[in-house]
Symmetry: C2
Subunit: 491 residues, 2 copies
Amino acid sequence: MIALKNLIEIDRSADTPIYLQINNALIHLIKNGILESGLKLPGSRSLAIDLNIHRKTVVAAYDELISQGWIVALQSKGTFVSNELPEVNPGGNLEGGRFSRNAPFEFNAIESLHRSEPSLPNGLTLDEGTPDIRIAPVTEIFRHYRSIISRSYNTKHLGYGSFYGDLSLREALVNHLQETRGLRCSVDQILITRGSQMAMYLSSQLLHRNGGVSIVGDTNYIAANLTLEHAGAEVMTVAVDEKGLVTKEVEILCEQHKITSVYVTSHHHHPTTVTMSAERRMHLVELSRKYGFAILEDDYDYDFHYQRAPLLPLISIASNGNVIYMGALCKIVAPAIRVGYMVAPKDFIESAGHLRRVIDRQGDAVMERVIAQMILHGDLQRHSRKALRLYHTRRDHFCTLLSAELGDYLNFEVPEGGMAVWALLNKSLSWTEIARSAEEQGLEIPNYLNYDREKLGHNGMRLGFASLNLDEQKRVIGILKTSILEQMASF
Amino acid sequence: MIALKNLIEIDRSADTPIYLQINNALIHLIKNGILESGLKLPGSRSLAIDLNIHRKTVVAAYDELISQGWIVALQSKGTFVSNELPEVNPGGNLEGGRFSRNAPFEFNAIESLHRSEPSLPNGLTLDEGTPDIRIAPVTEIFRHYRSIISRSYNTKHLGYGSFYGDLSLREALVNHLQETRGLRCSVDQILITRGSQMAMYLSSQLLHRNGGVSIVGDTNYIAANLTLEHAGAEVMTVAVDEKGLVTKEVEILCEQHKITSVYVTSHHHHPTTVTMSAERRMHLVELSRKYGFAILEDDYDYDFHYQRAPLLPLISIASNGNVIYMGALCKIVAPAIRVGYMVAPKDFIESAGHLRRVIDRQGDAVMERVIAQMILHGDLQRHSRKALRLYHTRRDHFCTLLSAELGDYLNFEVPEGGMAVWALLNKSLSWTEIARSAEEQGLEIPNYLNYDREKLGHNGMRLGFASLNLDEQKRVIGILKTSILEQMASF
């Protein structure tokens, strides 16, 4: 009779029920061939005494093992390790008791999507233009969150809800979009998404899962290229100049190919921050009507403009319904608050809603209602204005510093809006080198590689100024300067 | 000179800035051909007087219109509606001033995914097994939410985070899954998703975007079929009996075809609620090793069992890494709290993470941390036990009523766990009829059509008991009885 008490360790302080500890231990012993088929196990009473636990606990563990087919109880003979054990290769692919790290089955890894995971910002980071989460309107979020989730409030919205998004938020947005963007749409032309990325994913899938050509700028927001290509689009590029996407080139491509979609960040082109001119906008809308393509308008930072009232979005001036408009509130509230929206013709919104249903069923109805309340109470607008003033100051301070300290090494235009400066580094210098040396000085630059997919050699990078206070801006630019001088010294 | 004051209405109480109201009105008038190209517009001063507003406001509106190309200001001549207007077909596809309801561009509507939207429960509803949101642990959620979002707490997690999910939640789950399921995995084998539906979507995409065969039960959770088929899988079915999926039939299919995946709800098969037997589990794991397919284990209601300790999930007894385990916390906390997870080999989790990144970038880090805190403080476990006791009572009460009142018209087994009873209605009766007449009596039955996709004619439906208190159960069963008697009277 094997002395199990030496093989089973019981940890009374652990949260794992003791019967489950015994169960796990015995399975492990059987799998690893230490307890062989046919081996007789001690009776529950004697094992209970050996392990100094209650007999019921052992019985529970044995019952579980019997029900799983590991052991069998033979009438009046006792309990044995089962003879009909499946061929368990001892240890299997276990690693330190864990299961396989590499899948033994086939799957499509979609390597094209693999990117290194962004490290969570700790310490000084030069991002590509994100809001300062330190000014996020947490008090307001918190107040509305409480009023919505508190017991007194009816809890209907804690159940399953609409996959188009919470109705109160869609209604609030209908008004908000008209007031801020002159965009007139109805509730059934809006879908609430998880940030604008989901709007981009849904649209790309609906437009391109059977292929088709999509046109983007030859410098472009890289996530958009990835999303379009993943959906099945063949991505073609056109030039981007100081007036934005060169629509004449779009027209030429339309004459040569059947174009399914054109992706634009009309308010501030990503990454170059240039604003698409009124005449180019008109031309693109006209082309969309003539050639029947969809305009994917990603208006990621409409709310951040410093120079003058922004041009209205394409969707507000296009009556023909060729525009799919994508926006997000993450940039206003906080990136982690994943609430965005898309506006498009009703039939497109319907299909997008049904697709989103198999992706994640529905959005976070509670958070959606919080945002709706923030719009209705004007909290969103107030915070947006407050952030605008702050970022305006930071833009001016950053640009002044930039030209004073680094004017000899890079060129840039003061951006009319947004949260980043598009800086073109002298060709003799390398952002990669700068990023490396900056890291040694305690400054992270995560995104320096994302801007020249087409190998145009513009040597540009987005420098986010909005998330840095004035002192941090000084430090960042100081570190950049040191890195550049280092690099030049090494020539 | 046209009298614009009669055509432009200004609403001083509206939130839309007046300059934008004028801007919108004029665009509307031009688009609709009321103001024609070349028409001279009144000077800003006279229009300001006509409309009784400040002149600056008119100038701002005109500037916006000029920048958009609608009007032109000619030196010393005045302001005119532009002659180079794009061909705007008056009104375009506008409906009541709104843009097209039907897209003028081509897209793939993916009709196969279209389902009628579930109406939000108002009044009495017989669901297919959802938790009672009235007992959701809102106080605990709220407490942790406050402590996480309050200013005092560092706000790092309000920025962009990991697309694998918040680390603190992944760490909490590693322990929680071992304690509750004997499942041993590491942080890099877990991905946090939006409910188990997203885990199912990601897995299906990775496994089947190039096709392949997936095996499911011939009665099955319909959303799983949809998700697999949408991803590109050819779905084959095997029988389900009182021991769950008939694995012998799986083996036969494996000999005839290359099988990529097998989908199981092992703890309680959806919809029939039967528990997969230990021997079938062993057999399926063995087959997965032999034929190299992935087991998609959807353990949607592991935490709800009334009879005895549940069998451990397949992933806990399979050392070979063929199992992709999907779980959700929505059923414990509340459906609207969209937090779920998948456990799989590391390389699979990595690919799933990169795919999720283009879908919605990342999860709701704040909510993920709330759930992590609830696990660490034991709130989740406490609530789970509380709900278990309540649902146990409700199950017994519901089943007693059901056999007493409707025993002559339908058959069912008392489910060992879960939140629903699988009721087989006498063949002579129709659930559709019952649902129709029940609705007249104020009882909604949304899901009666979801269970017999393969036309087996079992005439079964899931009756959710967990969300109904004892009084509501009486009313529901009373209404069902009336509906049935009505139907029989009509024979």
